[in-house]
Each structure stands twice: as structure tokens, then as C-alpha cells.
Assembly symmetry: C2
Homo-oligomer: 232 residues x 2
């Protein structure tokens, strides 16, 4: 085993875009919304305005599909100056329902990795988004049997992680977090003295993108199966 990971007893996995496809469905939803708004604005402008509305609403709506739909609704009223048809309002509701019914597409190697780690570690699923929707995806994923505990967090900042570790009586040096977001899964974890492994996904929500200074070092893997070698 790599010396760095010898103390690890608990592994937290991010879910969306770490275990299964998610951001791709938001990209599809945004693209469909831009099509609906095409009579009023270019796709570029629509996506820019939608992001602005989403970020404005983040403090009250939080992450997840329901807040995304409510923000599209608000953005549609604004961009069209309340000229859109009610069929479009209906279409926006359907974008959300379609997303909430998507099948779960596991990423390569995920099941193998979890099945090997589960007997040796306490495995947690730590995610943002709508609680019910995340539970739905976990159930559909067939991964429940490898997960000891699921926690949906309203944010993934230092304090949220520290509170969680305290509640579950986990020591910081025994905790490893694995995820695709530098902002949510890597930096806060480094800052509380736990270990982190970054596994990038091909698309990231702009809001999750961050600049990393040259001095911050973290482990990044292109394939989740490489975790097994690191921990072996």
C-alpha cells in the first residue's frame, strides 16, 4: 500500500459524475431549454442568463433538478419578456421530469472498485442535490449493497465535511474522499487534513470549475480502477 493511504479506514465517494453520469443530462436539459428560447436569444446568451439565474437562486433552491427547473422557468419569463407560450412552460416542466426518470449509467470500473473496497473499508456516498433523486439513483444503480451510509449535503465545504466526520465519529486522518470536483471533493478535504483523490469527468458545471494554485498538490487519476493499486 502507498504510504499515504495506510491510515485510511473510511472512503467517501462522490456520486454524480464519479459513480454515474449526471452532468451530461444537465447539458442536455440546458440545450433543450436553449432550443425553446431560440426565438428570443442565441444559445450562448440563453445559457449565460440561465447560469446567472441559477446562481442567484442557489442560496434558496440549492443544487438539484427541481431548482434547475424553477430557474429555467424564471429565465424563460425574463428572456421572452413574458411572451412565451404556455406550451413552453409545459415543455420546461417536462425537461425536469425527463431528467428525474433517466436511467442510471454507471461509469467504467465503478462496480468492480466498490465491490473490492466494500469488505475492507467503511464506504460512504457523499453527494449534493435533491435527497429523493439521489436515493432514486442509488437504488437504480444497484450499488446500495456496497455503500454503508449515504449522506446528501447542502454544500461540500470544510464545515460540512467536518460536521459529518464528527457525527460519524471518523478521524480526519482516516478519511479518504474520491470525486470529480476539485472544488467540492478535493480542496475542502485537503484543508481539513484528510486524503483526497480526484477523478475528472469530461464535463463540469461552470460553477464547479476553479483555478488551482501551483502549490496545491493532489492525487489525480484518469481511471477509478487505479484506486485499487494505490490502496493495495
Amino acid at each position: 500500500m502507498n504510504h499515504d493511504y495506510k491510515n485510511i479506514k473510511v472512503i467517501g465517494f462522490d456520486a454524480d459524475d464519479t459513480l454515474w453520469v449526471n452532468e451530461t443530462f444537465f447539458r442536455e436539459g440546458e440545450h433543450r431549454f436553449a432550443e425553446l428560447m431560440a426565438p428570443y436569444e442565441t444559445e450562448n446568451k440563453v445559457l449565460q442568463e440561465l447560469l446567472r439565474v441559477e446562481l442567484d437562486n442557489l442560496p434558496i433552491y440549492g443544487y438539484g433538478i427541481k431548482g434547475f427547473v424553477l430557474s429555467m422557468m424564471e429565465c424563460a419569463l425574463e428572456l421572452s419578456n413574458k411572451q412565451i407560450g404556455l406550451d413552453t412552460i409545459d415543455d420546461i416542466l417536462q425537461i425536469g421530469k425527463t431528467m428525474l426518470h433517466k436511467p442510471v449509467e454507471l461509469l467504467d470500473g465503478v462496480e468492480e472498485v466498490l465491490s473490492i473496497l466494500e469488505p475492507k473499508y467503511r464506504v460512504l456516498l457523499l453527494t449534493k442535490g435533491d435527497l429523493l433523486d439521489q436515493e432514486r439513483k442509488l437504488e437504480k444503480s444497484g450499488l446500495s449493497k456496497y455503500i454503508h451510509h449515504v449522506e446528501v449535503l447542502s454544500e461540500k465545504k470544510e464545515k460540512n465535511y467536518q460536521d459529518l466526520l464528527d457525527n460519524l465519529e471518523i478521524k480526519n486522518e482516516e478519511f479518504l474522499m474520491v470525486g470529480n470536483s476539485l472544488k467540492s471533493d478535493v480542496l475542502p478535504i485537503i484543508n481539513i487534513g484528510s486524503k483526497s483523490i480526484h477523478i475528472p469527468f469530461h464535463t463540469t458545471w461552470i460553477y464547479e470549475e476553479i483555478e488551482i494554485d501551483d502549490k496545491t498538490s493532489y492525487q489525480s487519476l484518469s481511471d477509478i480502477k487505479q484506486i485499487l493499486k494505490l490502496l493495495d
Copy 2:
């Protein structure tokens, strides 16, 4: 101390309508929605249809204000046969935002009871609804200092409670749940062999109302402060 409660080490409190006012705001939201729909249907019919849409959507939207707003939107399209104005769509979005910004109104005696129980028991807040909205209310309530751990559940059925107790390593016979809903806070708790105290609120969402058979016995209090006597 009442003999029944001598083993209790952990007390779970429901939040909405047990610690603070909530259902009243949903009633206000529904009433405002019925006003908006008045050109199309009677208030009675509007509320009946809204409930139907909400229950249809419960498996995908879950509990909470965001799902409530999305269901009002869908109901408005249906009841008006897509004839409502876009101002009304905007008004419905505002019903939700108003609810999400409501100040928190603590119920009588709540702070006194929590402040007395907190040093002697592990106090949990166990609630349904939107995660972020529940965290907002807890923060605004000023009650955080009395709560050791908060858990937002997608449902409050036997399995949800049992999973929670297992995760937090709490024995069933050491757990007492306090809440206003017979369906969510009392019956499932009795069924897993834990203790429960019912404190009714003056209004209950129809979906939470249940018939209780004569043989089920449970402790019901009209005033949360009576808990102190029971546990003393």
C-alpha cells in the same frame, strides 16, 4: 421519571409544526394559488386538483416547497387548459420564494424544552422536506445549539428510522421520537419498538392524516413542556 422512559438516551424531534410553524404557510400558499385560479375553478376544486397533482408527483419531487411550486405550475396549466397568463406563472414562482424566505416562528415552550433536554440527552432533528430549506430554518430558529445532529429523510417510514438508528449506533429501546404527525412521527416508531410522543398541531396536510385503530396506544400531549414532567 415515568417508568416508560427510563431507558431513553436519544430524543428525535420532528421540526415542521413540532418546533416551528410550517403547515400554516403551505395553507397560505394554497389559498393564494386558489385565488389565482379563481377565474377557472372554485377554491374547493382547485385544492382538490392540486392535492391530486402533488400526490402524483410525490415519488419524483418528494416533500418540500420546490416540489409544491412545480406541482402548482402543472396544476395551473391543467385547470386553465393552458389559458392562464404568464403573470400567473410568475406569481406562482413568487409564492414559492415567499415561503422560502419566511421568518421562523418557534412554537410555545420549544426553546425551554430543548435547552433543558440538551445537556441530558443526545438530541436529533429528524425532518422531511428540502434539505437546504430545513437547514435555513434551523439556522434562523436559533435552536442549532441544542441539536447534536440533523437528518433530513426522504420518507419517515420504519426502514428510514431503522437505518438511521443503525448508522448512528442507537439502540431502538433508547430512542424517543417527538412530533406532530401520527403517520410519520408516531406509528413507524411504535412499530420498530422505540418510544414516541405525539404533540398535535392545529392543521395537518391531508396526506399526513390517518385513521388509528382503537388498539394502538400512544402518548399524546397538548403542550411540549409536558415532556419535561414525563422525562423527569
